[in-house]
């Protein structure tokens, strides 16, 4: 059966709209899976998502915030796989729950950054003229904001917290996307297939959203995955400074920060969440590199 399905998907002559779409999705998947780096990245991110989803089941009945002062700073053991922190909380369980926070940040930032960047970039690139000038100057202004300083300002104004950290990261993260989308749009807008839909009477909005945005999407997604590592690190940095997720929420950056005082004697407190940050950043980077290879039209 699998043989038949593969043939159906890989057909050079699809017989229906659905087969054509599924076929191209399948080809993309095959390309990602046959790329070892991308596959590694994909597996890491899949594990991260599973960890976040099943944290309560994987936690072996322990809570990430419940303190057991009698067993504080215990080294890794059969009972506490990764040891405990200065308040006796199990680090394995906190790392599991920390995945949820990290994923939330990743998700929120992507949801904000990609649409803003795409909208600003494609509008500026396609309409040109004064719209382009105004939008790109605004982009430059946002690009000039130092991310951590802005986050500090937000924390001062709205109080520290994960939401404000996300807002601060998003506000400073979208300008590069607008720039990519703009430069791609400028090239695409000159091409004949866009002139052809204009000749058919398509409105500006239709040209933008139906014909230009889908072509910019791939490079934006690649950039987003590559940036994700930086976003996770910034979020961790904010946590480390006490401006991100607030105690007692388990957040990897804050956990590293808490382990700072005891790093020489109780290495596991800071090291375990640090390794988690490292692996997840690496995963997103690998996936981004892989996606870039897959989306690159020159390769096929």
């Amino acid at each position: 059966m699998n043989q038949g399905l593969t043939q159906w998907l890989m057909s050079e002559a699809p017989a229906s709209r659905r087969q054509a779409v599924l076929g191209s999705v399948y080809r993309g998947l095959v390309a990602i899976i046959s790329n070892p780096a991308a596959l590694t990245g994909l597996v890491i991110i899949a594990v991260l998502i599973l960890m976040a989803m099943f944290a309560p089941w994987l936690a072996r009945g322990m809570s990430p915030i419940e303190q057991t002062l009698s067993s504080r700073l215990a080294p890794p053991s059969a009972e506490h796989w990764f040891g405990t922190d200065e308040l006796g909380r199990d680090i394995y369980v906190r790392t599991l729950y920390g995945a949820r926070v990290t994923l939330t940040i990743v998700l929120l930032v992507s949801v904000v950054v990609a649409p803003i960047g795409l909208a600003v970039g494609t509008l500026a690139g396609y309409l040109g003229g004064w719209v382009d000038a105004v939008l790109m100057r605004i982009t430059d202004i946002f690009l000039a904001f130092p991310r951590l300083v802005l986050a500090l300002a937000f924390a001062a104004a709205l109080g520290p917290g994960i939401e404000n950290a996300v807002i601060a990261i998003s506000l400073t993260a979208w300008p590069p996307y607008a720039r990519i989308a703009r430069s791609e749009t400028v090239t695409i807008a000159k091409s004949d297939f866009i002139a052809a839909v204009v000749m058919q009477g398509a409105s500006t909005w239709r040209v933008l959203f139906k014909h230009i945005v889908p072509l910019c999407l791939s490079s934006v997604i690649v950039r987003l995955t590559l940036d994700m590592a930086g976003i996770i690190l910034t979020a961790a940095g904010l946590g480390f400074l006490g401006l991100g997720a607030q105690p007692p929420t388990a957040e990897w950056g804050a956990m590293v920060s808490a382990g700072r005082d005891v790093i020489l004697d109780q290495w596991w407190v800071a090291t375990i969440p640090g390794i988690a940050i490292f692996i997840v950043s690496l995963g997103f980077n690998l996936l981004g590199d892989g996606l870039r290879d897959v989306f690159d039209p020159k390769a096929s």
């Binding site: 050079e12 002559a13 709209r17 004949d192 398509a202 072509l215």
Partner: protein, 251 residues
């Protein structure tokens, strides 16, 4: 059907202005195939794009079907003429299937029985129903150009503008596309303008031919005169002799 009087197109590029088309005037009768020949930089494609409203132009008169054509075209005006581009690799959206590409104009104009018309359009340009859900990269150059022609004709426009439709194709494929164009021209009673650098192609398909050089119209001759060399201007003569191939004993 199409009247152009004193058409001018000027490009501004980083401070420099270039007059790509200067005071070009001609008229194309209904049902006629009008040719424009010239070398690169002669402004022949720009004239076509100005008529299509794809570049900014100024003229004392640019009338299509007896009505002045405005700078911004309405959706109805767009239905009057369609364009076939030179490069079949660049004129089809790389992420859309043939089906998507052909449905798009029908959706824009709110047509009904879209599926039937797509199927008919594919058959009309000599493609097989198997091609319907393929992506452009799964098609050959000639097949892509057929898709582009099908897209141009699916709204039944009275006017077809052809910008070097065969110059990116092999001779044998070119013959198929030229035959297709002359068949469609008759069955749709199309008025068309064909731009090309190839005198033989233009003489094959057109009744009257305008020769352009450096943005200006040199002269308009009919196809028979072009073949026999009964032309007024030296430049035209030069072009004809060059197109006949290399001559060794030329001073």
């Amino acid at each position: 059907m199409i009247r152009v009087e004193n058409l001018n197109v000027t490009f501004h590029n980083s401070g420099r202005t270039m007059r790509a088309v200067r005071d070009v005037s001609f008229a194309v009768a209904a049902g006629e195939t009008f040719g424009i020949v010239g070398e690169s930089g002669s402004g022949k494609s720009t004239v076509l794009k100005a008529i299509a409203g794809l570049v900014k132009s100024s003229s004392t008169m640019l009338a299509v079907n007896g009505r002045e054509a405005a700078e911004r075209r309405s959706r109805e005006e767009r239905k009057l003429m369609q364009f076939v581009f030179q490069d079949p690799y660049a004129s089809l959206h790389p992420r859309q299937t043939v089906d998507d590409i052909l449905r798009e104009p029908l959706i824009i104009h709110g047509s009904n029985n879209i599926d039937d018309r797509v199927v008919a359009a594919i058959a009309n340009v000599g493609l097989s129903p198997l091609h319907r859900f393929r992506y452009p990269h799964q098609l050959s150059g000639g097949q892509r150009q057929r898709v582009a022609i099908a897209r141009a004709l699916i709204l039944n426009p009275p006017i077809l503008l052809l910008d070097e439709p065969t110059s990116a194709l092999d001779v044998s494929v070119q013959a198929e596309i030229l035959n297709l164009l002359s068949r469609l021209r008759q069955s749709y009673s199309l008025t068309s303008i064909l731009v090309s650098h190839d005198l033989a192609v233009v003489a094959h398909l057109c009744n009257r031919i305008a020769i352009m050089q450096l943005g200006q119209l040199v002269e308009i001759v009919n196809a028979a005169d072009l073949r026999t060399g009964r032309v007024q201007q030296d430049y035209t003569r030069q072009l004809i002799s060059a197109s006949r191939g290399f001559t060794r004993a030329q001073a």
